[in-house]
Symmetry: C3
Subunit: 471 residues, 3 copies
């Protein structure tokens, strides 16, 4: 057994025993996965995964960046180069490289997720090292050949109740259609992600606008046509089960311009020669437009901000985006969200879930805002911070101002399907540990903590994302 039954619980015996009891309340609850990046094709085709490295290493930017930071090249880890320069495609060799260097991940979440995945999925009972690399590679490769490791089987085995993918607003949703039409009972729903047409800095922005027009029959180079096209696409996503939109912006700026200002701004945007300031304004205006559409169609908004994408030009040129070189930066929500909040912040139809990579705003900005505006909910600790201490700090800093009920539960935010149970389990344990301390210090009754842990593990996510009913 590599996994201690009390892992992540405080060492103090009294507190630990409370944490254990709380954990028992929720250990068997289904997983609600309202935000993530799994590939819907997996669930549509239900094909077997093949190579352990391809499944567990190459697509994981957490693993890539750590190894790169200690001097191992992306190409050695199987990442395809953009210019076709040779890359390591030997899965076993990649696996060995990771195993030899796996000590680098000590005390990081990758280590915790991997241990959990190896033991619970593949019965491997020791942390990855150079000496056990070949054996674990074989064990995993063999397992992947069985039906029990097909995507739908994993979904069922993981006790997932619902999983949302993240999909371009231009996506044809064919995989979601396949799943929907199948006899399989899994609930795989899309999320409406329109960044390619709301952010003028996204690559191919004007082509994306044109494509949006083609898909909807709207003239998306006019302001009204653009809004109409979004309405149609959102409707389609809702038909396939979507309950949310997702917006990844450099800043949290929102705007609330008059219709004529919007038209004039969009005309400049369409020229492809807008200023940085105009682009920022357009992104901000589109957030408010998305909020307005949410009043009509009920989609929950998610806003993720503060990542400086592709910080290393060299890595971006050689390998493209999502290679571990997105770096957080300082953000401001107080002034930035005000236009949207002043327009619709008290409308009970709006639900806006906000995520940050700048922990200094938890206590100063996000908790106070969420503890005032009815529309706002705090998204969970995210990306660099969905780690034991990161999630603990999130609770310690936000709870005393915003309580538990202004938070949106956990989401795993991952493209790594096998790690989903590990991530939920870790989050649940950290919440148990947090609540156990509350109980041990007589800040909350244990009966109340038992109610709260069920909320944090299950109900809050369902409510925040309006997932109550399978449509």
């Amino acid at each position: 057994m590599m996994l201690d039954q009390d892992r992540f619980f405080p060492a103090d015996p009294t507190t630990r025993s409370i944490a254990r009891r709380l954990y028992k309340e929720i250990a068997e609850l289904p997983l609600v996965c309202p935000h993530g990046h799994t590939n819907p094709a997996w669930f549509a085709t239900n094909e077997k995964f093949t190579d352990p490295a391809e499944l567990l290493v190459t697509p994981d930017h957490y693993i890539l960046r750590m190894l790169v930071s200690l001097g191992i090249d992306h190409a050695m880890l199987g990442v395809a180069t953009k210019d076709g320069a040779p890359t390591n495609i030997d899965g076993r060799q990649i696996w060995r490289l990771v195993a030899e260097n796996f000590y680098l991940f000590r005390s990081t979440p990758v280590r915790h997720w991997m241990d959990h995945t190896l033991e619970t999925l593949f019965g491997i009972d020791a942390p990855l090292t150079a000496s056990n690399a070949d054996k674990s590679y074989d064990t995993i490769a063999e397992a992947l050949q069985t039906d029990a490791f097909r995507p739908r089987a994993l979904y069922d085995r993981f006790n997932i109740e619902v999983i949302a993918t993240t999909d371009s607003c231009l996506d044809d949703l064919q995989h979601h259609a396949t799943v929907k039409d199948s006899a399989w009972k899994g609930r795989v729903i899309p999320t409406y992600r329109p960044d390619c047409v709301t952010d003028p800095d996204s690559p191919g922005f004007l082509q994306s606008l044109a494509a949006l027009g083609d898909l909807t029959g709207e003239d998306t180079f006019t302001w009204q046509g653009l809004l109409g096209a979004h309405r149609k696409r959102r409707k389609l996503f809702i038909e396939f089960g979507a309950t949310a939109t997702d917006h990844g912006h450099p800043t949290a700026l929102t705007c609330d311009l008059s219709p004529s200002e919007c038209k004039a701004l969009f005309a400049d945007i369409c020229t492809g020669r807008a200023t940085s300031e105009q682009k920022e304004q357009f992104r901000g205006q589109m957030l408010t437009e998305m909020a307005r559409m949410s009043l009509e169609d009920g989609l929950v908004m998610q806003l993720h901000v503060g990542s400086v994408r592709n910080h290393s030009t060299e890595i971006f040129k050689r390998f493209g985006p999502d290679m571990g070189f997105d770096i957080p930066s300082r953000v401001n929500f107080v002034h930035a969200l005000r236009p949207l909040l002043n327009a619709h912040g008290h409308d009970p139809r709006l639900s806006l879930i906000v995520f940050t990579l700048d922990e200094s705003v938890y206590g100063r900005e996000l908790a106070p805002l969420a503890a005032a505006y009815p529309c706002l909910r705090l998204g969970p600790a995210w990306w660099f911070f969905d780690s034991p201490d990161g999630m603990r700090r999130y609770r310690e800093i936000t709870t005393e101002t915003a309580g538990y009920y202004n938070t949106a539960g956990f989401n795993d935010d991952t493209r790594a399907l096998p790690s989903i149970p590990a991530r939920h389990d870790l989050a649940r344990r950290i919440d148990c540990a947090f609540l156990a301390r509350q109980v041990a210090e007589a800040r909350l009754g244990e009966d109340e903590a038992a109610e709260v842990i069920v909320e944090l593990s299950y109900h809050l996510a369902k409510r925040a994302y309006r997932l109550g009913e399978n449509p």
Copy 2:
């Protein structure tokens, strides 16, 4: 018993027993309340409080904002609308609404304060719920009819040694006069708050300036007249026992302009058409002028910054200020305070107590500044942060740089008279817990910790606010 005798103490048995011993040293010490917002009329007229909701719910913006954030309207909670639209005035109904939703406050300070108030003042021994709402309402309403719950009786029962109110510099201090002239021995003193005439953005600024002139016989539309008027008003406040001024500014900017620049700036301010920059400069200059007057008359300065007031325009329009929609924002002290500190930072006559809502400045700015300049003291964790974890973080982050003796002790900062003992008790317990960890980890001797806890609970506040003698 709802209140555990070890509440807020660490669970580790060794540490907990140290905390208990430290707490015994200070549990009976009088309460020093050098900064707060109780109504002096209470102590002057000594009339009974009437309705439980009116006393414990409606004026409390902590309670309002949390309930509003989960979808309950201010009007349902008894808050009067500005346009006279109907509002809930049935105290029992309001109390029930709070009780039904009281689980929302789990692990927030409101919960801790309310539990303490209910048990110690009214003998109620379970947290508020829908099912006990009517009973607790009756219990409280009945108690309020007795003399033991009149304001002066509460003051005496709470073992308050001194309580400062916060008063506009235009206030006639009649209630303070009444208290002073009475046979009652309570010490209720005013605090000089001149924001209405130092902040050109405060509503009715020019009228306030005129009123200041009427009260003092000075021409307050001239620079010298303005300063002279402040001097006279400060003198009056001192006669009524004031030992401090209080300044609530959007930023910590201070300025140190020449007299001719001041005159020119003030002339522009008086036109009512000054720029934002000029207004900011005027606020900054007035802080330095107040510091200079403090050198003469000995009033301790308090500076509270970083709140974006009335963030929701809708709430402000319907209900006015102080409705839970003041949101912190990022602040900077290092450059902002420099002009004032360079002018008077080493003058032993000056005492400047600084408060922040941006925790990221504790370690980076305020502790280093307070650990260098003789005039500076750190105010306690404030507003959103006078909570168990908020106060713990304050000690953990500031102590190693600034020590204990550059801090200003606790103040309750509240308008909620019944909660005052709860707030002091919570702060004292968190300090006991912090010190107990210091002792348990051999970072401080227990005899020393016993000295320190008395300082933190009692002497530091008296010294920082120059309350040593009852004039």
Copy 3:
């Protein structure tokens, strides 16, 4: 015994016993001191220290600022005034003043360092107080008269393996030469600190440029000459054992201008009338130039940013720099480092160690950057933050993103030779405490933690600073 054998370890018995076992692994390891400010003359001349106050008080800005902040003048503590006004030069009187006020340092690192120094070096077994001041003064003064307290003897006794001083790039390194030529085996190496000629705001900048020319025979008022001069000086430092450069800049800005832009910029700098923006750009360009030279000669770069120097004009005028009035301020690394990182961030020859005084960047900026770029390492918690809780926060916030192996080990950064063992011991204990919690919560195996603690205490510093071999 004043020093508890379990000091700084968590109170929980299980965790504490793990911490003890880990500590045993490293308690006897040699001290690696790759960054500090001891005086090389001490090791060259090996003369006895004389006065306890002169050794332990007057040069220590941590002690000065705390006492000043509570109202004691620098002059009372023996600091020489710039205008020759009288200063206290009676060591015993200074020592008494410190002792009387030593309670002010409770729970600060000065207290911990002093206790450790007094007990382990001088056999004094109680914290400094007014009543034991004379006795401890005599004990120390007497010890300083013996050969066992000469600088080289202390170096040997402290089990120092290597100590780096920090030296102006204009320094003649004569003391290092003396040490090198001596029979003594101590390894005292210089560090190349070129701020006087890379920062146009440093006092006497143009004279320093001229001096650099004189030393190297280069025309240092031309861009090529300037670069050539640096290359020659760096070469000389390397000959005396240097493995690193050190850069103390107000911000982390780096630039990567074209050669012609560099020439034009430097021409303006040389006029002495450059704008603030040009000066900032020049500092930023010089960092990138230094990085380029490091590719050639292998010197490790250190970058310390975010200190507002000499915040109090009065103190600077009366006593000069380094008087405890350097105050941290907000910094940004993400955008600032990008030009340098884009130029050379993936070059395996570059090693850049970054330090911050703004803790809010640990998690948001520095850990993510260090966990991506091969050249970057996190310097340890620094200056205001090399304290028990400061170092704990550093590990808690950086480890989950950057792991242990992207950090640069500990350095004591001190000019206080007697306190060096105390500082290393404190850092090692805090790391033991951190790792013990990891083990107790089953986040890391104890065997792994035992490996990690050796890395943190010894190997990481050697590797990060390329100190592997004594040249």
